[in-house]
Amino acid sequence: MVKFTADELRRIMDYKHNIRNMSVIAHVDHGKSTLTDSLVAAAGIIAQEVAGDVRMTDTRADEAERGITIKSTGISLYYEMTDDSLKSFKGERNGNEYLINLIDSPGHVDFSSEVTAALRITDGALVVVDCVEGVCVQTETVLRQALGERIRPVLTVNKMDRCFLELQVDGEEAYQTFSRVIENANVIMATYEDPLLGDVQVYPEKGTVAFSAGLHGWAFTLTNFAKMYASKFGVDETKMMERLWGENFFDPATKKWTTKNTGSATCKRGFVQFCYEPIKQVINTCMNDQKDKLWPMLTKLGITMKSEEKDLMGKPLMKRVMQTWLPASTALLEMMIFHLPSPSTAQRYRVENLYEGPLDDQYATAIRNCDPEGPLMLYVSKMIPASDKGRFFAFGRVFSGKVSTGLKVRIMGPNFVPGEKKDLYVKSVQRTVIWMGKRQETVEDVPCGNTVAMVGLDQFITKNATLTNEKEVDAHPIRAMKFSVSPVVRVAVQCKVASDLPKLVEGLKRLAKSDPMVVCTIEESGEHIVAGAGELHLEICLKDLQDDFMGGAEIIKSDPVVSFRETVLERSCRTVMSKSPNKHNRLYMEARPLEDGLAEAIDDGKIGPRDDPKNRSKILSEEYGWDKDLAKKIWCFGPETTGPNMVVDMCKGVQYLNEIKDSVVAGFQWASKEGALSEENMRAICFEVCDVVLHTDAIHRGGGQIIPTARRVFYASQLTAKPRLLEPVYMVEIQAPEQALGGIYSVLNQKRGHVFEEMQRPGTPLYNIKAYLPVIESFGFSSQLRAATSGQAFPQCVFDHWDMMSSDPLEAGSQAATLVTDIRKRKGLKEQMTPLSEFEDKL
């Protein structure tokens, strides 16, 4: 009973004003996938009856099993509006048919890279918020991301059914809750306001907020009710809408609207009077099986039920009635069509964010105008594993031009630099495909403004890429995506059977391709490492690796490994010196910690090796109190030339110093990558070159003499400056009822975590707890927490900062020393740290 065909879809793809690309974003478990089901059902892909139970977009077995979305899934919907409903639509349109490319995204923080990929190729976002839990940490994160991409949001307050069935709150209380939810969301949106995007806040009275019950498949906007009552009261629809929200009260006894509660028993808020109460009444009647009362009520509302549906009882009856009365799809789709931008509108202001090249070239113009005749500009945001194991669909959005089967395209990878041949391929698209639920339909071509999947490019696209026509050699790529989480949890994997190694290698390659966030690397000791954003993410990745990408070959995974950083606490207790192997050159150095916040500034790219030295010295002197001249004497950053450590030249009038600079820098890159304690990266250390004594003959101070010496003196200065370990720390946000707090605190205490914020959600019995938790303690945290709170608390962990461990790693038996020994053992190093005397020389 599919209501539309691929041909129909393809036809509407050409009407760029009638397309809406949107993603559904929310906190975990706020009902995205369930709500999406209702929309899919409206398009006739699944039966209306099962909508809300099928979770159409959770295509993977493990998604269904766990009840969470893991991968973002795209789906194209066809929807025909009636003339009547469109009469108030002001924007450009082309007929009544609409195409909605919808992407359902995961809500768990571990998979937020999927959200990023989804947002890039959409123009609007449906933000789903649980009416009881309210705006949560992940809601905020995804909203921030969306606005950063210039995605216009609309809001739906979901799980309305909980209000009616579970909590049984009265109208006024419910209104307060809803308005608080909307207010909270608006506060976030206002923070990230963007002049080009205009006012992005949402207002129920303007129709940008919907109220929905995804599970039961019904939803409404104030528009629905406004239309209903407008004729009755003989007022304008917009006027009616305004009255249905905010400080507008109606007293049926006097039949008067007021802006204040008159205090009489019958005076109620417009929303309560006209929206909440009627729904409550219908639901209650259905649930109580008072069919004699129900039928007249339904007739009054203009709802006709099929005869077989009349036999239903209780919940199914209620569901059916509500679906017929207030179908979720109508309300939500109307809201999207009215309030979310079409590609042609959105690309006008998004082009600045998207295009890396000059904004006046033909590519920028084509994107701006969403020009189907212009040059092809297509961004591939993710790779979707195909049913054919090991192959991928390249999934993306056409921003201008058309992509067609057999077209030769230029693939510009993330490292592509215009004018060079690096990371560039010219290949032809084997097939263009659109997604219709679980099925894929091949189409001849896809014009701009649409999402598309392509076959045959997976070998040349690593994670994302920009595609353009073969001939367009001067096109710049579309800006790469920025991810909000970083892969901090790592496990070492190896195959059970040694000869499976090639399979493992191949599998890791595929895994890296399929997930933009996972990082597959190799350790110095030869172990393969898979790094992910969190425990859950890793678990999913390893499952994929074993089942899909390695053909079921068994793998052994180690316990999760956390990487540490090495830093120093104080300035070196003395200037240390190392001699070169030939004893003719001496380097004198001291280490000191970088100023607070400077390492983070380097991480964020506020200060870096490519800055103009003048700007850099300005920032350093003004914000971090550096000496102006000194700031100009930064030799380098490291590791990898961009890391948060630096070498500063403090020498005065030393000969030949510039000659050895390159060698010292090479030694520094080496040393800062493998610190003296446990060969972890260094962080926030500033090395000051105090003096150097060099042989007068250039051949005696070459790289062979200086590089190893520089490395030794870096280590020596690190060891004399009270070295410390830094451990990564998560910020955990937990939402739980009061009675679960005790359990949360005790688990956090066990795990070395500490709470820094505890707040009761106004109007709810729920508490919001924010805490810091060392990543190393976080393994098994969520299951322990669930056990301790009988399943009432669910944590969301995001990497927050590096925290210094107070114990001294040089003091035998201390916690840090044990850690260092463990790390060294794992890396196959000598368990004993190399003593200072190995690095420091005496005169």
Partner: protein, 612 residues
């Protein structure tokens, strides 16, 4: 295209006067400035060590010239490219009583000595092949015995000649030359050193890797280490009982002499090997100590097979399966069996030969019997770790742009072939190769070439594994390079050390070239765009030079001077350095008044004595 630095450097000095090299400065003059950076480093090294005048062993090459033949030796040594410090001393002549007394007082000891150094067989070997100039190569730890070996051997040769009166009585005296401290590993036959004295054969003493020679025949004296026979047999039979697989016994060559006894003792001590076919014990054949050069590198394996003479045939009874050889040991397996079906039992030290075996047969269960401590060692996790570490190095090498080929041998047969093969491999992979000859590598020497991302060490099987922790860039073996630079080849766990196996290694059919390469170091896909460019360049070869120059002259961002893996060639690397040399066009043209510089020695200048 390739900047090839071939620097052959030898130092000859008199054996017993290492502390009195007076004309030290003359070393420096050896190196013209044009040699680039390797010259300075070697010179520097010499000077730094020169303080104590305990020269780096790799540069020492002592020739002890016996008094009977000194003139001819001196003549042959004369060469203007080498420094020679000739001080005449005759160790043996100075105190001839010493040796005489000792041998007289302890006759049995002398007998031991003779048998340990295989004097009789050596003399026979020299005699039968009618060699006239024989080089005796000693490793450092046996050098103390060299004079005694020479005198005993000479005596034996003389007596042989006297007894053998059939020939003309006036054949010339056989010249014996002691050769020590080879430029490369002391396990290999130093053919270059031997050819300096026009030797026509080399007698090699001590631990050997049994690498085939190129030009000279060689005779190996393994030495004879003592072994507790009963204890060894005891542990062996115990292990055989616990092991489910048949056992292959391999051993260090210093134990080769007693293997026959071990075998006999094992057979006598128990009858288990007949009852249970599963716990069979096989022995690798004792290698023949002779080796004749083979020009044809393709037949290196055959060469080894034909030399197995003194081994017991019973071990290979009915064996017609795959033949194996490693470090001189050879054995055959039964038809249809592979090494995975065996457990290995190694008798000997935990040395490079053993490491070699562990790497090569990494799929087998291996135990080691330490003969000096008389105990079994089953924990080999450290050895296993090496393999993983090598795997990491291969992955690292894949990301390299510039490869330095270190020539670590000038003797092992096929080394030139391998170097050329590697050169072709590297170029085909779109990387740059430079050939460097520097004797034994050490971190300071290699750090003089910071532009190299990885070093490829072409040397004999047993010196090939350099632990790379101290090195700025990893050092890999030719086999690893083959895996790293051949797109599409995979690390399967098989590991090959010798050249012979490598040359015979089937060329991997390169499959799908087009997919971007996954770099496990960067954790993502990278593409080696040279592959793409190569195709374009072939089409218009006349423009190749122009293209190359164009690339060389690209203006680069100066900020990141030394990023590993950034530069594509040595020239580009140097162009990216912040220090480019003296800046001649200085704006300040007014003459500067001179200042007085520092005084004193580099170890502590006068103006800073009280500073630190």
């Amino acid at each position: 295209m390739f900047l090839a630095l071939h620097i052959f450097f030898k130092l000859y000095s008199q054996y017993n006067k290492p502390h009195k090299i007076k004309n030290f400065k003359s070393f420096g003059s050896l190196f013209p400035a044009s040699l680039g950076s390797i010259g300075p480093s070697i010179r520097l090294l010499l000077q730094s060590r020169g303080q104590k005048l305990e020269l780096n062993p790799s540069f020492r090459n002592f020739f002890l010239k016996p008094y009977t033949n000194k003139n001819s030796a001196a003549r042959n040594l004369n060469s203007d490219t080498r420094v020679r410090v000739t001080v005449k001393t005759h160790l043996c002549r100075k105190n001839p009583n010493l040796i005489g007394k000792r041998s007289r007082s302890s006759f049995t000891l002398a007998m031991d000595f003779e048998s340990n150094y295989d004097i009789a067989t050596t003399a026979d070997f020299i005699r039968t092949h009618k060699f006239t100039r024989v080089a005796l190569q000693f490793p450092d730890d046996l050098l103390k015995d060299s004079t005694r070996v020479v005198s005993v051997l000479r005596k034996r040769l003389r007596s042989l000649r006297e007894s053998d009166t059939t020939g003309s009585g006036d054949e010339p005296d056989i010249g014996l030359f002691v050769m020590a401290d080879t430029a490369y590993g002391s396990c290999c036959v130093d053919e270059v050193g031997a050819s300096h004295i026009n030797a026509d054969c080399v007698i090699h003493y001590g631990h050997t890797c049994f690498s085939p020679t190129t030009t000279l025949p060689a005779f190996f004296v393994f030495g004879k280490a003592s072994i507790g026979l009963a204890d060894c047999v005891e542990s062996m039979s115990q292990y055989a009982l616990t092991s489910s697989k048949p056992i292959m016994v391999l051993y260090g060559l210093e134990y080769a002499h007693s293997i026959q006894q071990v075998r006999k003792a094992l057979l006598e001590s128990s009858t288990f090997c007949t009852s249970d076919p599963k716990s069979e014990v096989h022995f690798a054949d004792v290698p023949s100590p002779y080796m004749f050069p083979s020009k044809d590198t393709k037949k290196l394996n055959d060469l080894q097979e034909e030399t197995c003479g003194c081994g017991d045939n019973s071990s290979s009874d009915g064996a017609s399966g795959a033949a194996y050889s490693i470090g001189g040991l050879t054995w055959k397996l039964l038809e249809g069996q592979s090494m995975e079906d065996y457990s290995l039992f190694w008798i000997g030290h935990d040395n490079s030969a053993f490491a070699n075996v562990v790497l090569r047969f990494n799929a087998c269960e291996i135990v080691r019997y330490d003969a000096t401590k008389s105990q079994m060692v089953a924990d080999l996790s450290q050895q296993r770790r090496i393999l993983k570490r090598r795997y990491y190095l291969v992955e690292r090498a894949k990301d390299a742009n510039i490869v330095g080929i270190l020539v670590g041998t000038l003797g092992v047969a096929g080394y030139l072939h391998i170097i050329n093969q590697m050169m072709g491999l590297i170029t085909a992979a779109g990387k740059k190769a430079y050939t460097l000859v520097m004797g034994k590598p050490n971190p300071a020497k290699l750090a003089n070439f910071p532009e190299c991302d990885v070093f490829l060490y072409v040397s004999c099987a047993q010196t090939a594994l350099l632990d790379s922790k101290d090195y700025l860039a990893p050092v890999i073996t030719p086999f690893e390079a083959t895996i790293a630079f051949n797109r599409g080849s995979q690390w399967t766990g098989a590991y090959v050390m010798g050249f012979g196996d490598l040359i015979n290694l089937p060329q991997v059919q390169v499959g799908n070239q087009e997919e971007a390469r996954f770099s496990f170091l960067k954790g993502g896909y990278v593409e080696d765009f040279e592959n793409q460019e190569n195709n374009v360049e072939e089409e218009r070869e006349d423009l190749a030079l122009a293209n190359a120059t164009e690339k060389a002259l690209q203006l680069r961002d100066n900020c990141n001077s030394i990023i590993k893996g950034g530069a594509k060639s040595g020239a580009e690397f140097f162009a990216n350095r912040t220090y480019q040399g003296l800046n001649i066009p200085d704006d300040n043209t007014t003459p500067q008044s001179f200042v007085i510089g520092r005084k004193g020695r580099a170890a502590g200048y006068e103006d800073e004595n009280n500073k630190h």
